[in-house]
Amino acid sequence: MEAFTAHTGRAVPLRRSNVDTDQIIPAHWLKKVTRDGFEDGLFEAWRKDGDFVLNRPEREGASVLVAGPDFGTGSSREHAVWALQNYGFRTVISSRFADIFRGNSLKNGLLTVVLDQAVVDRLWEITEADPTAEITVDLEKRQVLADAPDGSTLTAAFELDENARWRLLNGLDDISLTLQNEADIATYEAARPSHKPRTIDA
């Protein structure tokens, strides 16, 4: 996994709540068997509208998505995370994320940042007023920074559990970490009751 320490970039303010993973990447894209090449499928239906925020020239190259509450609901498709990353997003800010999407994003190095809706509202205002305004997401300091057009600086702290933060900062692979405790798994397996189901005779 790609490590995440801090990132600064321009933003896409997405004023929609309940952005489900079917919107992020429609089902017909899920037939692909790779982890790349999903960028053209990102928000495919909404991008057919020329006025959709992602289509505006001033948003080209933006890497911070600022979305409404309950982002990533619905399907467990990790393709949603890959599509956001393939497109160029490094981080998504919202007041609430669906659990599975959040788990998937953190396993891929896409940092999902939870901030109060009032802060999200302010980030929308700042980045709508000035499309060149940059947002900094600093995982080491657990802090989001943005310079407002009036010269003030918005600073907001965010929470992320220490273990997830450590894995992200170091770009650690979960499977390798788990296999360090392989002996614990073997011990557990040896004690499993015989009535537990098996798909094939072992």
């Binding site: 899920l30 599975i100 998937n104 798994i185 009751p193 537990k196 189901p197 098996r198």
Partner: protein, 475 residues
Amino acid sequence: MGRTLAEKVWDDHVVRRAEGEPDLLFIDLHLLHEVTSPQAFDGLRQAGRPVRRLDLTIATEDHNTPTLDIDKPIADPVSRAQLETLRKNCADFGVRLHPLGDVEQGVVHVVGPQLGLTQPGTTVVCGDSHTSTHGAFGALAFGIGTSQVEHVLATQTLPMARPRTMAITVEGELPDSVTAKDLILAIIARIGTGGGQGYIIEYRGSAIEKLSMEARMTICNMSIEAGARAGMIAPDATTFDYLRGRDHAPTGEDWDAAVAYWKTLRTDDDAVFDAEVVIDAAELAPFVTWGTNPGQGAPLSASVPDPASYEDASERHAAEKALEYMGLTAGQPLRAISVDTVFVGSCTNGRIEDLRNAASVIEGRKVADGVRMLVVPGSVRVALQAVEEGLDKVFTAAGAEWRHAGCSMCLGMNPDQLAPGERSASTSNRNFEGRQGKGGRTHLVSPQVAAATAVLGRLASPADLSEARTPAGVR
């Protein structure tokens, strides 16, 4: 202090617990399908890792599979390639697979329970959010992403932070016309699509205890639409009776030991949930969605809501967008909404009892002119049972199409899709924009409402149908 059902199952699966780390949970059953597994198998190959527990792993094909002409090559080359990838991966790694054409093929969440693999007190995962279905057996079952699929293939475990617990207690009697689908749609409308975020929901109370296994699966299936990690129902005699004699259910002494364990899987009287919701079953009515998320629903007797009536700005905006997408007007009675297509099927409502319920409404009646009705059994076994009971004939006599098993129009990865602007009444689980086909409009309903809607061509409940039925064999 006592523990909840979820906490008991969780604790029984902790392989390793360490300060400052998520618990490492053992996974009893890993279900695979073609869509979310290819990149996971690739990861194993790159790292040179085997599948740790082939005996706890099983695969089937469901999302991409056609429901017509299944004996011919799959027309869509990309779908075909994805199925072939699964077949190669299963062959290379030694995973048991039930491919298209096999008698055990079907929607993964229908297949697990009918094989008796889904059992109380087990942990079940699958790269599919509707894995919550299996919680109906008192299993801890949740959907995972592809990275986690790879993790389970390699280690048979998952590092997981322990969710909080929520009790949804439904007391009393469900009115005759009200099904499990109506109940779960009403619950989601009440707590919202994010209401369950961070929680495992336990459904309990007298109304839940009276439900069949099929109905319990419908409820747990849609836990994810309320944002919950998982949904669970304590196992009881209904659960044990469903499991007894199934292919992979324990036998002999193992059965006795299993039942003894399963009987301990109840929330202790002094256990405390982190959140509680109480619902009076008697107040419920047939429920349908009007919007573009499963929380945007209302009783069938209601009208399309006025977005201005929402105090919360974000909900108001979402309702405005939903009405625009759905082509609806505030104040329009839900019963006045005409549909083009009716879909009966999916992991939510594609089991035998669902087909029986839909058939009982449509028997001796006709699908309205201009309406297409698709009936897609959840699995080949469900289809065979339905044929044995003559349900396929009931549907085809009414003018419905009887199809082969699969996910079908629930998500339109195969050719079963809505055309732009087309409107469906669907027994599936998601009414998201474009879910059933680009520009398609979905109203989520129960099998009974689906059948009544097919007959009248507009959203309707069985009570709206006149008593008159066409005698068998007479048009």
